[in-house]
Amino acid sequence: MTSQPLISRAWARARDTVSRRLFLDRQAAFWLNELDPLLSLTGVRARVVDVIDETPDTKSFVLHPNTAWRRHRAGQHTVIEVEIDGVRMRRCYSIASAPGHWPIAITVKRVPGGQVSSWLHDRVRPGQVVGLDQPAGDFVLPLRRPGKLLLLSGGSGITPVMSILRDLAARAALEDVVFVHHARSQAEVIFGAELRQLADRHAGLRLVVRTDDDPSGPPGFDESRLAKQVPDFGERSTYLCGPAPMMKRAEALWKSVGATQRLTQERFVAPVLATPLTGAGKDVRVTLLRSGRTVVAGGEGSLLDQLERAGERPANGCRMGICRTCTCRKTAGTVQNLITGEVSSAADEDIQLCISAPQSDLQLEL
């Protein structure tokens, strides 16, 4: 916004205020949606164009975003928003397609018990419309492509590096690229056929695929095997994405050869917060994102009581879970609902402070 001149910013603000105060924004949203669910003045929506089976538990979803979509850089991710039984849910997925390719595609692995991945696999059909966030993320090549590249992945971590690989192929820039991938079996190598085709066609691409059922060595990521197969790994600009244990080991290996600055990582799972506590009363750290403070809460009572004892004054009303005045967004951490007993660790959920008790360190939009 700072790049826009003062006048146009003031005009945009005035226009927004008028449309809001006259309820024209609501009208516009409704009638646009009636016309075509893809249309929106406020956000990115995308129509599902195709659903492709990659492996028995992985599907690619080809999406056609509306005009609000900003072109992504290879390796970035988006957030898909779907409505499951009335509830809007959001999940982050790497964009697997290259930036020059249209429409875009994400590749989703079915997570056992996962609500969104199951719903995507079982219920989404071409023609349906989903919500998207603008692409984001730093897991991208610099503008001047590094001379020696190593793309290192495991399982569904292949998605962001595949985007980088496809982009390099499209730009005819596949020189001195080593692609190392780990999977449980040949059948579970996502994009397996495409990888072999690219390796055949491009002499500059060296493909190393390692499966767990290969008896010639230990399953999964192995430091000495990697050192043997890619002796100059410490000199290559490396892009790493895979299961947490693999990433931890790889990170340690890179550190041991002093090559950490050449390693770029993409995490799918947020770092684990303090282990959830059982039983009330234990002290927890609550980070208040809006005020910038971090307080230590604990002891008897609800989160509201605990915050007040720590000196905070969150908005509240009936203090019994009815009037919703104390509703606030929890961006991270685990709470227990004191009325239903339900425990929830969901990121980005609204909670009522007066009927919640902390079960771990928390982040709140307060």
């Binding site: 509830v87 009303g317 009815i322 919703r324």
Partner: protein, 377 residues
């Protein structure tokens, strides 16, 4: 049918509360696509009705299109005020995560600012329901609607005041949280009052501009017709909402409470007060939707943040619970409930005989000496 409720002991009230909690949990767990589809259908109907109404008013000529246009507009305003606005702002659809249904951000199409409403209604009225001196909805600090309220000479004018309030109800609601009564009694300083008026004046200003400036201007030659249509549609919405809302807590058979009775209250006892302080109106499906399900005022006060379209299916269970715990369930036809309220407004305009206090369902002292609960059949 107005039988008096049996006073409940602490244990009985707790058991009563637990059964209601279980009912609430069962419905809350069942919420899903069907509820979202319902509210979106109502929203769609309101939008379509508004569009039809405005088109008829803007480009039509003659009395028929005027009548139809105004009616369609009134329907959309009523739906937006009742089934959509009131229920969304209660947080009944917060569980969906849909920003258009987020309670804290919703603004409704009348002169009352959303934040003021959320404070005076969601918090004050629903927490202190029917507690004299704390629930400012009792007579809206203007009318004497219960014999427990002390008579003052100004009440002689209340039949007229009630009629004016009915016609201009959105203004009464809009100014309710300005707490003018507290300014006059000295409890609120002029400085605080002035600060409170800012959001109201902004909202009211925009509403007046929208209804009597912007939309009429769009209609060019038809401007006066559009302005009049908007005025009448607003008036119709005012009358309807006034009638429905006044039937919620003021008909014969509803209990008022004193502050000393409710100073210390368990969750079960809170439920008992909500039940005895509310009254339902009988009707069909469309009537319920037009009232925003405030025809189920009892269920609404027991479960304010459960989507209102669920109240009709919860009502039989609530009634059964009331029968078992000896609690009165105040309900009647629209005509009966409204007539009861009108009679009260007229009768209580005059200084009555000494205050007639209904049996207090909460007082434990009264409960200890009374009858055991009727066993379930």
């Amino acid at each position: 049918m107005t039988t008096t409720s049996i006073p409940l002991t602490h244990e009985q009230a707790d058991a009563f509360g637990k059964e209601l909690d279980a009912l609430r949990l069962a419905v809350a767990a069942d919420l899903g696509e069907r509820d979202v589809r319902h509210i979106r259908w109502v929203i769609g109907t309101a939008h379509r009705s508004e569009a039809a109404g405005r088109v008829l008013l803007h480009i039509g000529v003659g009395p028929l299109s005027f009548l139809l246009g105004t009616s369609a507009l009134a329907l959309s305003k009523i739906l937006e005020n009742m089934e959509i606005g009131h229920n969304v702002m209660h947080g009944q659809y917060d569980w969906t995560g849909d920003p258009a249904l987020a309670s804290k951000r919703y603004e409704w199409d009348n002169v009352c600012p959303g934040d003021d409403w959320r404070h005076s209604h969601n918090y004050e009225h629903h927490t202190f329901t029917n507690v004299l001196g704390k629930d400012r909805d009792i007579g809206y600090m203007l009318l004497r609607v219960a014999p427990e309220q002390r008579w003052r000479p100004i009440h002689l004018t209340q039949p007229v005041a009630a009629a004016i309030l009915a016609l201009l109800f959105q203004w009464g609601v809009g100014m309710h949280d300005l707490r003018t009564d507290e300014l006059l009694s000295g409890k609120q300083s002029p400085k605080q009052f002035y600060r409170r008026t800012r959001p109201f004046l902004r909202k009211a200003g925009w509403q007046l501009f929208k209804d009597y400036g912007f939309f009429p201007a769009l209609a060019l030659a038809n401007a006066p017709r559009v302005a009049l249509g908007n005025l009448l549609a607003n008036g119709a919405r005012n009358l309807w909402t006034f009638a429905v809302i006044f039937c919620g807590h003021f008909p014969e058979g509803v209990t008022m409470y004193h502050q000393d009775e409710t100073a210390v209250e368990s969750r079960g006892q809170w439920y008992v007060r909500q039940l005895n302080g509310s009254a339902n109106i009988e009707g069909g499906r469309w009537f319920h939707i037009m009232t925003g399900h405030l025809s189920h005022q009892i269920e609404h006060h027991l479960f304010p943040d459960i989507p209102a379209s669920r109240y009709p299916e919860m009502a039989p269970k609530v009634r059964e619970l009331c029968a078992r715990y000896g609690q009165s369930y105040c309900t009647g036809s629209f005509r009966r409930q409204l007539g009861s309220v009108a009679k009260r407004i007229l009768r209580l305009a005059l200084p009555g005989p000494s205050v007639q206090r209904l049996r207090d369902p909460i007082s434990t002292a009264a409960a200890e000496r009374t009858t055991p609960l009727r066993r379930a059949a």
